[in-house]
């Protein structure tokens, strides 16, 4: 499927956005993403994907009577000149689409804004902090709203990038999860991605034709992100062979992990009770580092020992083969 083009060709008499909306409806129904009467929070950043998601979901909810109670959930990371502007867009969306809005901030949850964090740790590894904190913040926000499910606007390009990123880092645990359309069913709040098969390009075209209001500037800290390489790669690839994006996702779905590979076990964080494969969850480790003035804590291969598990460290360092090394412990 060559994204927008084939869709326009297929459309014939119908216009592009009717086909777009119908396809999303089929993904929702075909993958049983929602149950009638569920309370659902839409992770809304004010950006193109979440704005289109909010619009389409509320439209389909109405048109096909999904019976969903929809909310907008926005995270304020405290990035001046970026997030404060995009939050204005979400506030406008709240009025335009008639969906109640909940904003959760890093400052309230963790006592730190991203600006303060970057001042402390410098311009490397910003996204590590932000990503980890945002994931938890969304769960906390969802709990406040008492919703049954979280829905995010991750599109096909995003997921293909994540597959590539996880391969580049040797993160098998994440690789096995990142292509699932619904994740976290065994955790606090399940989340799903209705745009999993939707190309970024189609979303932008939809927003353009429907004249949807969205905020379109890059996060000021993103130029230093490792994901940038995967993003550029995917964009170049799409130009050569547009189907590659869906094919990468398919490859990601079809990966099977060798039984000799050691996988992390899921438990709970001792400090905050959040889901974690270590004694402390990543957010707690990072936060402890920040509060103790140790910005490198939780970044890269562990040298010190917050988890107090000396046996673990020894086992890791004497591991003979790459396969027997614990997932996510390969460092670059």
């Amino acid at each position: 499927m060559e994204a927008g083009e084939e869709k326009s060709k297929k459309a014939g008499g119908e216009c592009f956005y009717e086909v777009f909306e119908e396809e999303i409806h089929q993904v929702i129904v075909g993958n049983r993403l929602f149950k009638f009467g569920e309370r659902v929070a839409i992770g809304a950043s004010g950006g193109k994907d979440s704005s289109v998601l909010a619009y389409v979901l509320s439209e389909l909810n109405r048109r096909h009577s999904y019976g969903l109670d929809l909310f907008l959930l926005s995270i304020d990371e405290g990035i001046t000149g970026y997030r404060d502007d995009s939050l204005e867009t979400v506030k406008r969306n709240e009025v335009q689409y008639g969906l109640p809005l909940q904003i959760v901030s890093y400052k309230d949850l963790y006592g730190w804004t991203m600006d303060e964090i970057v001042k402390m740790i410098g311009l490397k590894n910003n996204c590590t902090f932000c990503g980890v904190f945002r994931r938890q913040a969304l769960d906390r926000g969802a709990a406040l709203l008492k919703v049954d499910k979280l829905v995010t606007g991750h599109n096909a390009d995003d997921i293909a990038e994540t597959v590539v990123l996880n391969i580049l880092r040797g993160d098998i645990a994440r690789l096995s999860r990142c292509t699932s359309i619904t994740t976290g069913e065994d955790g606090p709040i399940p989340r799903c991605k209705p745009f999993k098969y939707t190309y970024e390009k189609e979303i932008v075209m939809y927003a353009y034709f429907k004249k949807l209001d969205y905020f379109s500037t890059e996060c000021i800290y993103s130029p230093n992100a490792y994901r940038g390489f995967a993003c550029e790669f995917i964009n170049d690839l799409e130009r050569l062979r547009p189907r590659a994006i869906l094919d990468i996702i398919k490859s990601g779905e079809d990966f099977r992990i060798a039984t000799t590979t050691k996988m992390p076990e899921q438990g709970t964080c001792e400090r905050c009770g959040y889901i974690s494969s270590q004694k402390w969850c990543k957010a707690c480790v990072l936060l402890e580092g920040l509060n103790r003035g140790l910005p490198k804590m939780g970044i890269g291969r562990p040298r010190g020992n917050v988890n107090g598990d000396y046996k673990d460290i020894k086992a890791r360092s004497t591991a003979k083969t790459i396969e027997s090394k614990q997932c996510g412990s390969l460092d670059f």
Partner: protein
């Protein structure tokens, strides 16, 4: 020939934050044919005031920039070889930012 050029998705920042430009382009060659390739080159020289690498890569637009000619994806009309006519509307939208 007269054209309406629209820049979106953050690209307007490269053109003095102006989203819509109504321009008049006359080619110096003999033929009356103006292609997208010619237009891009003209835009880079005359409208892009900063960071041209955000708009173009080589002869064509940077990967991640959507191009619509009269509301139609330029991939359907031949990309760089698309021929333009008087009063055409060309839209450039960047997809390179968070969602």
């Amino acid at each position: 020939m007269q054209f309406t050029l629209e820049f979106g998705g953050g690209l307007e920042l490269l053109c003095d934050s102006v989203k819509i430009h109504k321009v008049n382009i006359n080619l110096l060659n003999d033929s009356d044919i103006l292609t997208m390739k010619d237009l891009l080159s003209w835009v880079r020289t005359n409208l892009i005031k900063e960071r041209p690498e955000m708009f173009m890569k080589g002869d064509t637009v940077r990967p991640g920039v959507l191009v619509l000619v009269n509301d139609c994806d330029w991939e359907l009309s031949g990309q760089l070889d698309t021929t333009l006519e008087d009063k055409d509307v060309i839209v450039f939208i960047s997809t390179l930012h968070g969602g």
